[in-house]
Amino acid sequence: MSTPVLEISDLHMRIEEKQILKGLTLTIKGGEIHAVMGPNGTGKTSLAQCLMGHPRYQITGGSVRLDGEDMLTMKPDERARHGLFLAMQYPSEISGVTTANFLRAAINARREDGTSISLKAFRDQLDEVMGFLDMDPKFANRYLNEGFSGGEKKRNEILQMLMLKPRIAILDEIDSGLDIDAIKVVSKGVNSLKGPDFGSLIITHYQRILDYVHPDFVHIMVDGTIVKSGGPELALELDKKGYEWVRTELAQSTHQA
């Protein structure tokens, strides 16, 4: 499979009357890990959900392309079948379907030739991935996320990512609420997919996860746009100085311009 390219260009988006994204441009290629950091309420989750096709958001300008194909006209399931994945900040609890049955249905839905994965092949793969993520096998037979702790839900998101093997994965605060061991496990999962066929956008508030998943690019998002991009050192600097530093710098540069 070819190296994926997700191109977000000059994206404007709003919810109801509130403008959330105000001209956001970002390109993520296979082999790259991007981190996006930014203060609360700045539009990170909105960006992630909008990329995945949540119907709530209204696009008012710009484009999103995956391998040159317009994503914005696609429904979430089509985007998923094109290789996009979103680990959600707050995964829903779905009663009545077990994690295993759900994953099998999702794998089958993504197969292009319409065939189904055999139960044996699926089980083997699931066992392997759950083992890799140090997950208790009983989670496979529990209803999807129902009654899972915060950390268990996040781990389940990574399980799904590894099973579905996306080409571009957006991880929205996958590290929030995790203890250090869980962060290591989650990072291990992301790192295992690393390669030219896989690109990732990691939304986080903390430097911590970036010690384990090394980003190639770090972007700072404020008020619906990316205001500053750099390498891993930017995250460290931000960790030390806080967002006030970005805001001040931003004010100065607008002033100068």
Binding site: M52, H54, D77, F85, M88, S92, A105, A106, A109, Y143
Partner: protein, 425 residues
């Protein structure tokens, strides 16, 4: 007078029709029919707060057409089951395991059992013929139906299946069923109500009365999958003796209009009832359900659960009533109703109520009606499932706790099949 439209009929027409059709019946039965016939024109159609019947033009129905003769042949009953097949309320076939008939279990057409003193004693006791015009019409014109009597203290569980079917030319059907479970016996009944696919506009009236004697237990399950041209009025009521148990499992899926209720009278101490209703409306279906538990005696318990799904422009009302009378000390009555709406045009009302006239009791109710969780749909579709598939999974999860709790396995599977069909429809 083989055929007539109701609003052109006089009282004399009705009475002579009853005489012509049912003149051969025992005096007590004929007299009841005649008094019902006298009442028909003076009574109103059922008055339901949220289900207006006026524009349905019920009085334009060809009420008196003799039901067409049966055409189906019965398939073999499941092993160990007694089974009765009815076409347009007329019994087509009855099969009864020898072991049961030797112990005195009776399963037959109710009109054929009018000589039985139990029928005279119990028929109409719980569901009278003066409630409204349909009750009176049913009182005057009912025919066929099922009589099931299980003697006291039968050791094994008596399993009975009722398969009721209406064909295209039915017009109006009035059925009565009477089930008597003797002391300390245990009966399971599954009733399947269905019609031909292309049935013409049909008024379907079904009255089922269940008597559970001391220490007896009846598990009554029903699934209704009639065509959209059917307007159903389905009433069920049970009376429970000392320590008797009546469990209702009702699956409602078909009919353009359905007014359906089931009532438990906990007449004696220690009586217990539970009721589970699962309903699913689609298209322009209108469903008006109610369930009632009357605690007339101390230490009686009731537990009522209803879950429904509404899609397209379907509309449902579920009214639950738990009434604990003064003196019914130590009773426990609960109810819980939940509805899930799959579209903006669907509508569901849940109206729970408790009437408690005794202090020393436990009573609780809860009701909710809400749209499907869009975040959950988004979550599932983001993994590659289509939106209909995502909704299917959510509906499954919503209904599973109640459907999987249905004690009758074959009914449970049929309810799931009906749900699947409705989801895909």
């Amino acid at each position: 007078m083989s055929e007539m439209i109701l609003d052109q009929a006089s009282e004399a027409d009705l009475k002579s029709l009853v005489e012509e059709r049912f003149g051969h019946e025992p005096q007590w039965s004929l007299a009841r029919r005649q008094s019902a016939a006298e009442a028909v024109l003076n009574l109103d159609w059922p008055r339901l707060e949220r289900t207006p019947l006026k524009k349905r033009k019920l009085d334009q129905l060809h009420l008196f057409k003799a039901p067409p003769t049966p055409s189906r042949t019965a398939a073999a009953a499941p092993e160990g089951w007694a089974e009765i097949w009815l076409d347009n309320n007329q019994v087509v076939a009855v099969s009864m395991p020898e072991a049961l008939s030797l112990q005195g279990v009776r399963l037959e057409s109710l009109t054929a059992a009018l000589d039985d003193p139990d029928v005279e004693k119990h028929l109409g006791r719980l569901l009278g013929q003066d409630a409204d015009k349909i009750a009176a019409l049913s009182g005057a014109l009912w025919q066929g139906g099922v009589f099931l009597r299980v003697p006291a203290r039968i050791r094994e569980v008596v399993r009975v299946s009722i398969r009721s079917h209406a064909t295209a030319e039915a017009g109006a059907l009035f059925a009565k069923n009477l089930i008597i479970c003797g002391a300390e016996s245990h009966v399971t009944v599954t009733q399947r109500l269905a019609t031909d696919e292309g049935v013409s506009k049909t008024l379907l009236s079904e009255n089922t009365e269940i008597i559970v004697e001391d220490g007896g237990r009846v598990d009554f399950g029903a699934i209704q999958q009639c065509a959209p041209t059917v307007e159903g009025f389905i009433h069920r009521a049970g009376a429970l003796g000392h320590d008797a148990v009546l469990n209702w499992s009702i699956g409602e899926f078909g009919a353009g209009l359905v007014v359906s209720d089931h009532v438990s009278h906990l007449d004696q101490p220690g009586a217990q009832t539970s009721s589970t209703t699962v309903f699913f409306g689609a298209g322009t279906q209108h469903q008006d359900y109610s369930a009632k538990s009357y605690h007339h005696a101390p230490h009686t318990t009731s537990n009522m659960v209803a879950r429904g799904v509404m899609k397209n422009k379907a509309r449902s009302v579920f009214t639950g009533l738990t009434q604990i009378e003064a003196g019914a000390k130590g009773s426990d009555g609960r109810q819980k109703e939940q509805t899930l709406m799959l579209s903006d045009d669907a509508r569901a009302d849940a109206i729970p109520s408790l009437i408690i006239d005794e202090r020393d009791v436990y009573a609780a109710h809860a009701a909710s009606a809400g749209p499907v969780d869009r975040a959950a749909v988004f979550y599932l579709t983001s993994r590659g499932l289509s939106e209909p598939e995502a909704e299917r999974i959510i509906v499954h999860g919503f209904l599973a706790p109640v459907i999987d709790a249905i004690a009758l396995p074959e009914l449970r599977d049929e309810v799931w099949d009906a749900v699947e069909r409705k989801i895909r429809a």
